[in-house]
Amino acid sequence: MRSNPSDYEMTALPSLHSTVSLLAREPGVWLPIAGGTDVMVQYAAGKLPARKLVSIWNLPELRRIDVTASEIQIGAGCTYTDLRRHAVVGHEFPLLRSAAGWTGGIANQNRGTIGGNIVNASPAADSLPALLVYEAELILISARGERRISYANFHTGYKKTLLAPDELIQTVCLPRRFLEYYSHTRKVGTRKAQAISKVAIAALGRITDGVIEDVRIAVGSVAPVPLRLKDTEQALNGRAVDATLLLLARRTVAAEIRPIDDIRSTVRYRAAVTGNLVVEFLNRLNLAQAGAERSEANDVLAQWNRLPADEAINAVLPCCGSRAWAEGMVARRPLADEAELLTASNETWRKVSPSDWMEAFRSHPRIGEKKPVMGSSAPGQSVEWSSQEQRDVTDADAAAKTALAEANREYERRFNRIFIVCATSKSAVEILEILRRRLKNGVETELHEAAEQQRQITELRLRKWLQG
C-alpha cells in the first residue's frame, strides 16, 4: 500500500442533493467514489492525486432501476451485480448484461458501478460499447439542475468526458426498442475471467428481405475512446451479407479504428481481431435471420431443431440418459450439422454435475446384461442401442462372461454403481482388462473415467441417431 491514509479526507453525505451541493461549493476538489474498484487501485499504487473524496456508495437515489413503457432508467450507482440480476436488463439488453458478467470477478461486480465505469472512461471499459449501440442517454445532475444528453459524444478524448467538475451521472437511460434485433457481444481478454479487454465488440442488427436493415457496432480498446463504427455501419446498411460485404466490412473497420501497442497486446492483433469480430457478428446475424431457409445437411437434425422443447428433450435423451444434458442440448438449438451436434454434446456434458453423470450411468445395463438395473426408466431405444454396443460381449464364451460378471460385482462393491465403458467393438476379454485396471483407480479418478466413457457412448449414439 503506497499511499498514506492520513493524507486523505473522505466524507459521505446522506443524500444526492447534499452531495452535489458540496461539489458545487468546491468544484474539482472532491472526487466522487462509488464502489472504489478503480479509485482504490490507484490509491494503493500511490497514484491517486485527489486528496479529498466524497463517497456516493449506496446513495438510494443512484442505486435504483426504473422501467417505463419506453425506456429503462438505470441509476449510475447500480453495481454490475444489480444489472445482472435485473429481469428487464437481462431480457431486453443482453449486451449490457453480458458486459456486467465479465467485468472483473464476483467481488468486483458487487462493488463496481455503471456510473463509475462511464466516468473512469477507460477505452477498455466493459459496459461502454453496449451503451453506445443501445443509444444511451445520460441524466447528469448538479446543484444547477439536471441535463439529459446523448451518450454518443460523452467521451471527448482519452479519459476525458463532458462531465462538468460539479456534476455526477445520475441515470443511464436506454430506450426499449431493441427486442427484435439480433444481438452479439464478445470480449477478448487476456484470460476468460477477471481480465482487461484487449478488444471487445457489442453489436445489434436486423436483416429484412435478405438485406441489412439496421446495424450498430461498437468496439472497445481500439481507440482512445469506446468507438461506434459509424462509417462501417453506413457501408453495411442496405446490403446483403456475402463475401464481398465481409471484405468491405474489414476494410472500413480497419480504417475507423486506432489501436495501439501496449502492455497487454499489439496493434496488429487488435486490428486483425476487430475485423474478425465484426465478420463473426455479420455471419451470425445472417445465419440467425436466415435460419428457416438455410439448407440443413441432415433431415433428422432439421426436424429435431423444430420440435417443441419437451419432445426434443425426449428425442435425444436415449443418447445419454441425463436429463440435464438433454435439456442443455435442446437449449443450444438450432444445430446445423453433425459437427455442431457433437461439439454441443461434449460442451454440454462437460457442464453437467456428477449427479447428472450418475443418472446417465443408471440408464445402462450392466456390461453382459440386457436390461438396465432396477429402478431406471431407460427408454426402449437406449436398451436397443446398449445391446448393439455390447454385441461383441454377448457373443463371448461362457468363461469370459462369468469372469466379467464377477468383475462387475467387484466394481459395484467398490464404487457403488455399475461399470461404464464404451463397449463398441471391444471384446469381453478387452473389457475385462479395462475393468480390472480401473478397479485400482481412486474414487474421483474413476468417476471421471466413467464420465469420459459415457461421453464416448453419447457421441456414438448421436451419430447413429442422425442416420435415422
Binding site: M1, R2, S3, N4, P5, S6, V41, A45, G46, G105, V188, T190, R191, K192, A193, Q194, A195, I196, V199, I263, R264, S265, T266, R268, Y269, A272, V273, N276, L277, E280, A339, L342, N346, R350, R437, N441, G442, E444, T445, H448, E449, E452, Q456
Partner: protein, 756 residues
C-alpha cells in the same frame, strides 16, 4: 499394533483446520511489541556506478533507521554457491531493483514517500538484456566472459553419426521468464538482542540456507542466529534462495535499531525485484534413421541467469541432465551454459531447468516425427529408454519401466486416436481448429549426483513427555503436504495412529538440518530418514525393556512417557548415507544422476479459435509413474497444481521486460489462469516402487511442471499445421506466425505461378 495402513491413505492435512479457519499465522499476521516497518531503496537503472546518495526534503529523516552497505558487520554478500551477490549495493549496481539502502520507521505508511525521496545519482554503464547480447560480449558484466557456468555431457561417438543419418533435424526452442506468483508475498521479521542473538521469522523454504547466509553477513556465531518458518503461503522455489536476502535486510535493520523490524514486500515490489524462472534457448541437431531411430545429436542449451551467480549452476545442471528426455541416445553431446545479463538474478522455480530443456526436447520430437513421416506417437515409442538402457549420463535404467505401455494407457484414457480422426474432418471448415499433443518425459528426484551426500541431511524423531511423537526436520510445509506425509511415515513406521504423530515448526533452534525443501526430495529422501529415525525410537524403547516387540498404541505411549520421565529427552537421529551403488563423476558429469526418475505421459486436447487466436484446453490427461502414492489426495493435488502452473507458463504468463525491468509487475497485467480458464485436469498414477524412497515413493513435486507446455504447444501445432517453438505462446504470437505462414505459402504459390 495398528493394523490399518496410514501410508497410502488420504489422511487429513495436519494443519488443514487452521488453514480453513484463518487461524494459521503467516509472517504478516505476527506483531511484536515496539516493532518497526522496513522498506528497501532500489536501483532504477540496470547497471552503473553509484556516485551520490541524497536524502530529499519533506521527510523527517531523524525518525528513520537508515542502513547502507557500510553498516554490514560481516561480509557484504548473500552466501550461496558463490559470494558475488552483495546484500546491499555499495559502489556498483548490476540490475534494476538491486537493493541499495534500507529504511525503517514505526509508521508503515511513511515509508513509500521516504523511499521515493532518496535520490541515487548514478553514472550509467552499458547494460545487456538477453542471451544473445550476453554471448556477443560487447559488454562483459560478470567474470571474464559473462559465463556463470558450463557443462559438457558426452556419450559415445557423436561426430560419427552424421554420415550415417537418413535425416538431420534441427530446431531452436525458447522459453521466457516466469514469476512464481505465490499468493503470499515475501516477508520477514527480525529481532536482535546482544544476549540471545538474532532471530528471524518468515515466509521461507530453507531455514538453514538463511542461517548460513546470516552468520557470515552479521558476523555472528551459529548458535546466536535462529531462523523460524512461519506458515508460508506458497513458494514453488521462489522462496528457496531469495528469503536469505530479505532476511538479511530485516536483520540489519533490527541490529541497527535495536528493535524488531517487519519487512514485507507488496506485490509490485515482489514481482519486480525477486527471482524468476531462467529464460532459455535450446538448439537441437539430431541424426535420425529412416525408421525413426535417434542415432545421436547435439544439444546446446543456454539459460539467462540475470546479474549474479546465485543458483544458476544447479539450474543449468538439472536442465542439462534432462535435456535428452526419456529417450535412448546412443551418442550425444550436450553443451550447457549459464550466462549473465543485467536483470534481477533468476532463480529456483519448480522444475528448476528441466521444464526448459524438456520443452525443447518434446517439441523437437514432433519435428523429428514430421521429418521422418512417422507419427508423434511412433517416433517416441521407437526411442523410449528401456530397462537396461543407459541415459545421456550413462545411468542404467534398472527398474521395469515400460514407457510404451504407459503411452498406450495415456492414449486410451485421452481417447487420442478417435479424437484425431474426428478433428481431421472437423478441421476442414469452421472457425476453430482442434488438435492433440503429447509430451513424454521424466524427472529425477533428489539432489543431483553427489548432492545428497554433500547435504548429509539429518532427521530427528522425538518421543514426547505425553507419549506422542514429533518429527524434527528443517523441511518446511508450504502447501505440498510435508507435515502430513512425514507424520504418516513416522506413524506407519511405528505402528501408531496418525494422530499420535506431529511435526513441529521449522525452527533452527529445535530441528536439525534435513536439507532444503527443494528438488522433490522431501518425501523420498527426508521421508526415508524419518522412517529410520522413527525405528530408532522404537528400538530404544524395546531394548530398554519398556516395550515388547508387539505392542499396542497405548503401550507405546506409556513406554514413551516412562522413558522421557527417566531420561528427560528422547530423540533418535538418522543421517543420510549415500547408497553404495550410486556413482557420480562430477568432472565428466557422468553416472547415476538421480536415485530415482519418475516417468510421465501428458496429453492435451486443445481448440484454437481462429477469430481471436486464443487457445482453450478442452481436456488434459496427466499420467505418471511415481513409485508409490503415499497420500492420493495430496499427490493428485500436487499434479493438478503443477499442471496449472505449467499451463500458465505455456499460454498466459509473459514477463514484459524493458531495460532489464519487469514492466507488468501487477496481477492485472501478469496473467495467471483463473478457475474459468482451466479444464478439469485428469490425473492417473502408476506405481513401480522405489528402493531409495520412503515406502517406495519417488519425488513428484516438480514433475508436473515439465510436460504441459510441450504437450499443449504440440497440440496447437497439430491443430494449425504450423510449428510453434516458443513459450509463452500468446494469441498475438499465434496470429503473427499464421500470418507469416500464409505469406510464405502465398509467396511460394506466386513463384510457382510466376514461371508460366
Amino acid at each position: 499394533m495398528n493394523s490399518e495402513r496410514i501410508v497410502g491413505r488420504s489422511v487429513p492435512r495436519k494443519e488443514g483446520r487452521d488453514k480453513v479457519t484463518g487461524r494459521s499465522k503467516y509472517v504478516d499476521d505476527m506483531v511484536l511489541p515496539n516493532m518497526l516497518f522496513g522498506a528497501t531503496v532500489r536501483s532504477q537503472i540496470p547497471r552503473g556506478r553509484i556516485n551520490k546518495i541524497t536524502f530529499g526534503p519533506g521527510i523527517a529523516w531523524d525518525e528513520f533507521v537508515i542502513v547502507s552497505a557500510k553498516d554490514i558487520p560481516g561480509k557484504n554478500c548473500i552466501a550461496l554457491i558463490g559470494d558475488d551477490q552483495p546484500c546491499l549495493a555499495n559502489e556498483f549496481v548490476n540490475h534494476p531493483e538491486e537493493p541499495i539502502l534500507l529504511l525503517a520507521h514505526p509508521d508503515r505508511h511513511l515509508l513509500p514517500k521516504a523511499v521515493e525521496a532518496v535520490s541515487i545519482e548514478c553514472e550509467a554503464l552499458p547494460a545487456i538484456f538477453n542471451i544473445e547480447e550476453s554471448e556477443c560480449r560487447s559488454e562483459v558484466i560478470w567474470g571474464e566472459n559473462n559465463i556463470f557456468k558450463t557443462y559438457l555431457i558426452e556419450k559415445g561417438d557423436i561426430d560419427g553419426v552424421w554420415s550415417k543419418a537418413d535425416f538431420i533435424v534441427e530446431g531452436e526452442y525458447t522459453t521466457g521468464a516466469q514469476e512464481q506468483l505465490y499468493i503470499e508475498n515475501n516477508g520477514m521479521i527480525a529481532a536482535f538482542d546482544g544476549a540471545q542473538g538474532l532471530t528471524v521469522w518468515g515466509s521461507l523454504q530453507c531455514p538453514y540456507y538463511i542461517h548460513k547466509a546470516l552468520i557470515g553477513l552479521c558476523n555472528l556465531p551459529a548458535e546466536k542466529v535462529r531462523v523460524v518458518q512461519m506458515e508460508t503461503g506458497g513458494a514453488f522455489g521462489g522462496k528457496e534462495e531469495y528469503p536469505s536476502m530479505i532476511a538479511a535486510h530485516a536483520a540489519l535493520l533490527a541490529m541497527k535499531s535495536g528493535r524488531p523490524v517487519k519487512l514485507i514486500y507488496d506485490r509490485m515490489e515482489d514481482m519486480a525485484a525477486t527471482t524468476k524462472r531462467h529464460p532459455s534457448r535450446t538448439r537441437h541437431r539430431t541424426a535420425v534413421t529412416r525408421d525413426g531411430k535417434i542415432l545421436g545429436g547435439e544439444i546446446e542449451s543456454t539459460i539467462d541467469g540475470g546479474a549474479y551467480l546465485t543458483l544458476s549452476p544447479v539450474v543449468l545442471s538439472r536442465g542439462a541432465i534432462h535435456a535428452g528426455g526419456p529417450y535412448h541416445w546412443p551418442n550425444v553431446r550436450i553443451r550447457a551454459t549459464a550466462v549473465a545479463t543485467n536483470a534481477p538474478p533468476h532463480g529456483a522455480f519448480r522444475g528448476f531447468g528441466a521444464p526448459q530443456s524438456l520443452f525443447a526436447m518434446e517439441r523437437h520430437m514432433d519435428r523429428i516425427a514430421e521429418a521422418t513421416g512417422l507419427s508423434p506417437i511412433e517416433i517416441r515409442r521407437r526411442n523410449f529408454l528401456r530397462t537396461g538402457d543407459t541415459t545421456t549420463t550413462e545411468q542404467v535404467v534398472r527398474e521395469p519401466i515400460d514407457l510404451g505401455k504407459l503411452l498406450d494407457r495415456g492414449l486410451e484414457i485421452s481417447d487420442y486416436h478417435s479424437k484425431k480422426k474426428r478433428f481431421a474432418i472437423q478441421n476442414k471448415g469452421g472457425d476453430t481448429r482442434k488438435g492433440m499433443g503429447i509430451a513424454t518425459f521424466l524427472h529425477g528426484a533428489g539432489f543431483t549426483g553427489s548432492g545428497e551426500r554433500y547435504l548429509s541431511s539429518v532427521v530427528g524423531v522425538e518421543g514426547c513427555a505425553d507419549g506422542s511423537v514429533r518429527v524434527l526436520v528443517s523441511s518446511t510445509e508450504f502447501g505440498q503436504g510435508t507435515k502430513t506425509v512425514l507424520s504418516q511415515i513416522a506413524a506407519e513406521a511405528l505402528g501408531l495412529p496418525y494422530d499420535s504423530v506431529s511435526m513441529g515448526q521449522a525452527d533452527t533452534l529445535e530441528v536439525p538440518n534435513s536439507g532444503p525443501t527443494v528438488a522433490s526430495r522431501t518425501v523420498m529422501v527426508v521421508g526415508k530418514l524419518v522412517q529410520s529415525a522413527a525405528l530408532g525410537i522404537k528400538q530404544t524403547l524395546i531394548s530398554s525393556g519398556l516395550l515388547s516387540e508387539a505392542y499396542s498404541a497405548d503401550e507405546f505411549r506409556a513406554a514413551c512417557r516412562r522413558y522421557v520421565s527417566e531420561h528427560h529427552q528422547f530423540r533418535s537421529w538418522s543421517r543420510y548415507e549415500a547408497p553404495a551403488d550410486i556413482f557420480w563423476d562430477d568432472e565428466k558429469y557422468r553416472g547415476e544422476a538421480y536415485a530415482a526418475f519418475a516417468w510421465a505421459v501428458y496429453i492435451a486436447e486443445v481448440t484454437v479459435d481462429l477469430t481471436t487466436f486464443s487457445v482453450s484446453i478442452d481436456d488434459f490427461v496427466a499420467l505418471q509413474e511415481v513409485g508409490k502414492v503415499l497420500h492420493p489426495l495430496l499427490a493428485t493435488g500436487q499434479i493438478i497444481g503443477g499442471v496449472a502452473q505449467a499451463i500458465g507458463f505455456c499460454l498466459y504468463e509473459k514477463v514484459v521486460w524493458q531495460n532489464g525491468r519487469m514492466q507488468n509487475n501487477q496481477m492485472t497485467n501478469y496473467i495467471m489462469p483463473t478457475s474459468s480458464d482451466l479444464p478439469a485436469i485428469r490425473v492417473f498414477f502408476e506405481e513401480l516402487g522405489n528402493v531409495y524412497g520412503a515406502y517406495g515413493a519417488k519425488g513428484i513435486g516438480e514433475l508436473p511442471m515439465d510436460g504441459p507446455a510441450p504437450a499443449i504447444v504440440n497440440a496447437v501445432s497439430d491443430a494449425l499445421g504450423v510449428h510453434f517453438d516458443s513459450v509463452p505462446l500468446l494469441p498475438e504470437d499465434i496470429m503473427d506466425k499464421l500470418d507469416s505462414a500464409r505469406l510464405a505459402v502465398a509467396a511460394e504459390e506466386a513463384d510457382v505461378g510466376g514461371g508460366r
